[in-house]
Each structure stands twice: as structure tokens, then as C-alpha cells.
């Protein structure tokens, strides 16, 4: 073989060996730019005096101080807390209950499961639109109750600043609880039959078997559904926009709608960036420990 041909072959081999890296690197670069680069930019902007236009002069924590002094941000955080707590608690309770009930040899289980889960296929905008109509203070549930004879029934949560956030909870739970049911049902189905048989021989009835044997085994499912729901809750934007538009006033604002409004409607870039960074920090606080333990578990 000639010297040149040998060198050609060596070069081709090297290329073959590097090919996987060559394929991955543009994608990785894109992710570095669009995720990490953008996060860095947003974080930087949050430390500047940027208003309508970005300014690149650092200004310390001024935007954060402004943010935390804004009553609307405080409302948004309060709402997030209420929403997160109720949304996670109700979705988990309903999801676990339905999963256990569906696990009792129901012949039409497939059909029921389909019904419980279909809201997950809808856009939050559709869900919001539907519930906005159902909860309509004049023509919605209130009218329905009146026609059923409850003349004094009043239901104005949608336009009541104190109660409006709970309508977001109602719609959110309607959409997402089926998902939790599906996660738990899959979890229940993966429990070794023999463990349930062993519990039967040990004298545990169905209730005790679930409470004392099966649900403790479901700990990872509780954890991952908590993560998913918390993630959904912190990011929730569409549902609020479609259902209440953040109103009445800004009574149902959440960090996500706050950020959008400051960024695109009021053009206060610095404050918007600071609120986005706060959201990121919240999600990191929930997810990093989880991801860390997951990846460590996977490496074992």
C-alpha cells in the first residue's frame, strides 16, 4: 500500500472515530447557547438597570429590591404558594384514590382510564376557556343551581379577587389529576404479585395491604409526581391567562404571568429578568436534589 493511501485510510479511521462527537457537538453547542447562554444573559440583565431597552451597566441588586417591593410580585408569590399547595395535594389525593380504585379488577378499566386521562391531551387554554364558561358567575354553575331549586346559591369566585385563585386550582386539578392516577396505576401494577400474596397470607386485608405494604413501596412515585406537579405549578401561565387573565385586577397573577406582563407589556426588562431568575431558582431548588439522586441511582 502506498504511503498516501495509508495516510488516507488513517484519516478516514480518525474521522469515523470522531463522527459521533461531530454529530453531537452542533446540538450540544445549540443547547449551550439557547439554554445556558440565554440564562446567563437573563441573569446578567437582572443585575442591570435595563428598562425598555437592555442596558449592560451593572447595577447590583436594584432590580431584585424593586421586584420584592412590588405588591404585584408579592401577590403573585402568595398565589403561587396557594396554588402549588392545593394543586399538588388535591391532584395527589385524587390520583392515588383513583389508581387504587381502578386496581380492583374493574372490567371496563380501560374505558374509565381513558376518560380520566383525556384532559391531559388538552391545551391549558382550552381547559381555561371551558372552565371560564362553567364558572361564569351569571350563566354558569350559579344558574344551574338556581334551576335546581337552590335559589340563594351564589358562585362568583371568578370575579371575586379573594376567591379567583381557587378557580385556577379547580381547573388545574381537573386537567392534571388523571396524570397522577396514570403514574400511580403504573406503579401499582409494577409491584411484585408475590408481595401482595404474602400480605394476604400474613393476614392483611385490602386496606391494610395498601396502607402498610403497597403505598410505602410507591415512595418513588410520590416523589416523581410531586416533582412533576410542582414543575407544572411553578410554570403555570396558560391556564391563568385563559381562565382569569390574571384578574380581577392582578388578583390571580402568578410569577409566570407577572414575568410575561413585565417583559412584553410593560417593557421593564430588568424586573422581568429578575422575576424569571427567581422562578428558575425555585425550580432548581425542587429539581436539582431530585435529578442528583436520580442520576446517582442510575449510575449504580
Amino acid at each position: 500500500m502506498s504511503q498516501a493511501a495509508k495516510r488516507g485510510l488513517a484519516a478516514r479511521r480518525l474521522f469515523e472515530r470522531l463522527l459521533p462527537r461531530i454529530v453531537v457537538s452542533p446540538l450540544f453547542a445549540a443547547s449551550l447557547f439557547f439554554v445556558y447562554g440565554f440564562i446567563a444573559w437573563t441573569v446578567y440583565i437582572s443585575f442591570t438597570r435595563s428598562g425598555v431597552l437592555p442596558s449592560y451597566t451593572l447595577d447590583g441588586l436594584s432590580q431584585y429590591i424593586r421586584l420584592w417591593a412590588t405588591p404585584r410580585w408579592q401577590v403573585a408569590l402568595g398565589n403561587l404558594f396557594i396554588f402549588c399547595t392545593l394543586f399538588i395535594a388535591l391532584c395527589t389525593a385524587i390520583g392515588v384514590l383513583l389508581a387504587i380504585l381502578l386496581d380492583q379488577r374493574i372490567r371496563i378499566e380501560g374505558a374509565i382510564r381513558t376518560v380520566y386521562l383525556y384532559p391531559m391531551a388538552l391545551s391549558f387554554i382550552v381547559t381555561g376557556t371551558a372552565w371560564k364558561w362553567i364558572l361564569n358567575p351569571g350563566l354558569g354553575i350559579e344558574r344551574l343551581m338556581h334551576s335546581m331549586g337552590f335559589a340563594g346559591f351564589r358562585f362568583d369566585w371568578l370575579v371575586n379577587p379573594k376567591m379567583a385563585i381557587y378557580t385556577v386550582v379547580i381547573a388545574g386539578v381537573w386537567q392534571s389529576s388523571g396524570y397522577v392516577m396514570a403514574l400511580f396505576l403504573a406503579g401499582l401494577r409494577s409491584v411484585d404479585d408475590e408481595i401482595i400474596k404474602a400480605a394476604a397470607i400474613d393476614g392483611a386485608g385490602p386496606l391494610r395491604t395498601y396502607a402498610s405494604v403497597v403505598l410505602p413501596i410507591m415512595r418513588p412515585v410520590f416523589l416523581s409526581s410531586f416533582i412533576i406537579l410542582a414543575h407544572l405549578a411553578i410554570k403555570s401561565f396558560d391556564l391563568v391567562v385563559a381562565l382569569t387573565g390574571g384578574g380581577p385586577g392582578y388578583a390571580t397573577d402568578m410569577p409566570a404571568t407577572f414575568m410575561y406582563s413585565f417583559a412584553f407589556q410593560r417593557s421593564e426588562l430588568g424586573t422581568a429578568a429578575a422575576s424569571a431568575v427567581m422562578m428558575l431558582a425555585t425550580i432548581l431548588a425542587v429539581i436539582v436534589p431530585y435529578l442528583y439522586s436520580e442520576l446517582r441511582g442510575a449510575n449504580k
Binding site: 463522527l19 462527537r21 440565554f38 384532559p119 391567562v241 410569577p255 410575561y260 425550580i283
Partner: protein, 297 residues
């Protein structure tokens, strides 16, 4: 999902057992109503005239079925100042969803394959860093993305939206395919290497045909996610280039004139129809996607 086997365990069959069984079905039935009622209300409302809506209740059946609301929602409802119904926006959504799903799925497949079957130093770190993109709240990238789209000349266009969905869908499609390929034996790839196949040869001839279920799950997931997206649509498009979710929200929140609840409901159902259809036809894969999404959070 298979039925759990210990179904046959002998239990005492008394009155209590029968009562529990009745209670069980009662609770399941109540929840069926809970989930179905909103869909029923939307449907019923969309088929009523405005007069009937004002006189009837949420759950009353339409006395006289009319498709006027559907026709209006489809072809002549006003979105902002434009009164062409949802039709042009559905088209926008289709133009956005097809390329975005195709590109993000294809790239995810190659990426997942390279990261699992050709493991090179740092592959795991690269994956972990990319995966992070699936978890961030997108608010944190909205501002720089808007500026970048402006620089690229893609601001306010459907093409810009395709780029955004591809970039931020990639983390998830990669995760999906990586998880799938982790389950594929390395031996198959080793054997093909010994047989002389290269990186792309193995991918197209051996790995990809095996990955069909993963492709279906990913496509369905991405389709649902991108079709249902609102945040990117509302942030990066204007007026004529809005995807249908944004248009729906505008229809509903147009404050001029009489509130036409029947048109709102028809528009909502039209918007939901593609994803609902996918769910009904390919529910199994949809559920699998949800389960895999559990890893994503």
C-alpha cells in the same frame, strides 16, 4: 398495562363485600362525570343558539341543534380586528407543528443514539447538561430569545416558532431516545461494527427500525406539546402568524360586542380536536409518553 395477578385471592364474600363493590363503582362513576361534564358542557353549549344559552342552564341539552357557532368559529369569528375565524390559525399551527416535530424527533434520535451507543469521554456530562434544558422555566429564556429571533429576522414568524420549539424540544426528544437506546443491547451495535457498518449505516439500518415505538411515542408527545403551547406562541408571534391556541384565547377575550359563548366553546373544541384525536387513536403511546415524561418532570 397488565392486570395484577393476585386477583384470585379468596376473600370472605358477605354483604360488606357487596356494599364495598357498589361504593367502588359509585365513586368511579362520580369521577367519570367529573371529567366528562366539562366536555359535555362545551359540546352542548356550542350547539345552542345564544338565546337558548341565556334561557337554559349549563347542562340542558340543546332544544334546537345549530351549527352556526361552529361555522362562525371556523370561518368568521373575529380574532382581534381580523374576522376570518380560526381557520388561518389552524393552518399556522400545522405549518409550525409538522416541521418542529419532525426536526426535533430526528435530531433527538441521532443524538440519543450517539450518546448511548458510541459512548465517548464526556458523553454522560453532555447528556446531563442538555437534559437540564427540559427542566428550566421558559420565562428565563423569553427575553434573549425574542432578541435573537429579531437578529435572525425571524421575529413574529412561524419559522421563528419552529426554531424555538425545535431547540427546546431537543432536550426531551434526546432523553426519550436515550432511554430507549439504553435498553437496546450494545452487542447488536458491536456486531454491526465488526460486520463493517459505520455510524450512519448502523443508525439507519439497524437502530432506527428497532426504535419505531420510541419514534411513535416521541412524535405523539412532541405533537401534543407543541400544538398545545401558548407561551412561545404569544411571546414570539404577532397577529397573522399566531398559532391556534393564541387565536382561541383572543377569540374568547375579544371584548367588543356581545359575548358569544357558543362560538367560544366551538372554537375551544376545534382547537382541542387534533390532540384529542391523537389521544383517542393512540392513547397507549400517549400514556407511555406521559410515563416517560415522569422522568422529565
Amino acid at each position: 398495562m397488565t392486570q395484577t395477578a393476585p386477583a384470585g385471592i379468596v376473600r370472605r364474600k358477605g354483604l360488606r363485600h357487596r356494599l364495598m363493590r357498589i361504593l367502588l363503582f359509585a365513586v368511579l362513576g362520580v369521577f367519570c362525570l367529573y371529567y366528562l361534564l366539562p366536555l359535555f358542557i362545551m359540546m352542548a353549549t356550542s350547539l345552542k343558539s345564544l338565546d337558548e344559552i341565556r334561557t337554559g342552564t349549563l347542562v340542558s341539552l340543546p332544544r334546537q341543534i345549530t351549527f352556526d357557532a361552529w361555522l362562525k368559529a371556523w370561518g368568521s369569528a373575529c380574532v382581534g380586528v381580523r374576522c376570518d375565524g380560526l381557520k388561518p390559525y389552524i393552518w399556522n399551527s400545522v405549518l409550525m407543528v409538522v416541521p418542529a416535530v419532525a426536526i426535533s424527533t430526528a435530531l433527538g434520535a441521532v443524538n440519543g443514539y450517539a450518546l448511548t451507543k458510541w459512548r465517548f469521554p464526556g458523553a454522560n456530562t453532555i447528556f446531563a447538561l442538555m437534559l437540564f434544558g427540559a427542566f428550566i422555566p421558559f420565562q428565563v429564556v423569553l427575553l434573549p430569545m425574542a432578541r435573537t429571533l429579531g437578529v435572525l429576522g425571524l421575529a413574529g414568524s412561524v419559522s421563528g416558532l419552529i426554531l424555538v420549539h425545535t431547540v427546546y424540544g431537543l432536550a426531551f426528544t434526546t432523553l426519550f431516545f436515550r432511554n430507549f437506546f439504553m435498553g437496546v443491547s450494545d452487542g447488536i451495535v458491536q456486531a454491526a461494527k465488526i460486520d463493517g457498518a459505520g455510524f450512519f449505516g448502523i443508525f439507519s439500518q439497524i437502530v432506527l427500525p428497532m426504535a419505531l415505538p420510541a419514534i411513535v411515542v416521541t412524535v405523539i408527545w412532541q405533537f401534543t406539546q407543541i400544538w398545545n403551547d401558548f407561551l412561545f406562541g404569544v411571546a414570539f408571534t404577532v397577529g397573522d402568524s399566531n398559532p391556534v391556541t393564541v387565536a382561541l384565547n383572543n377569540v374568547v377575550n375579544t371584548s367588543t360586542g356581545v359575548k358569544e359563548y357558543n362560538v367560544d366553546m366551538a372554537a375551544a373544541i376545534i382547537t382541542a380536536l387534533p390532540t384529542l384525536l391523537v389521544y383517542v387513536l393512540a392513547g397507549k403511546y400517549f400514556v407511555r409518553g406521559l410515563a416517560a415524561g415522569a422522568v422529565k418532570g
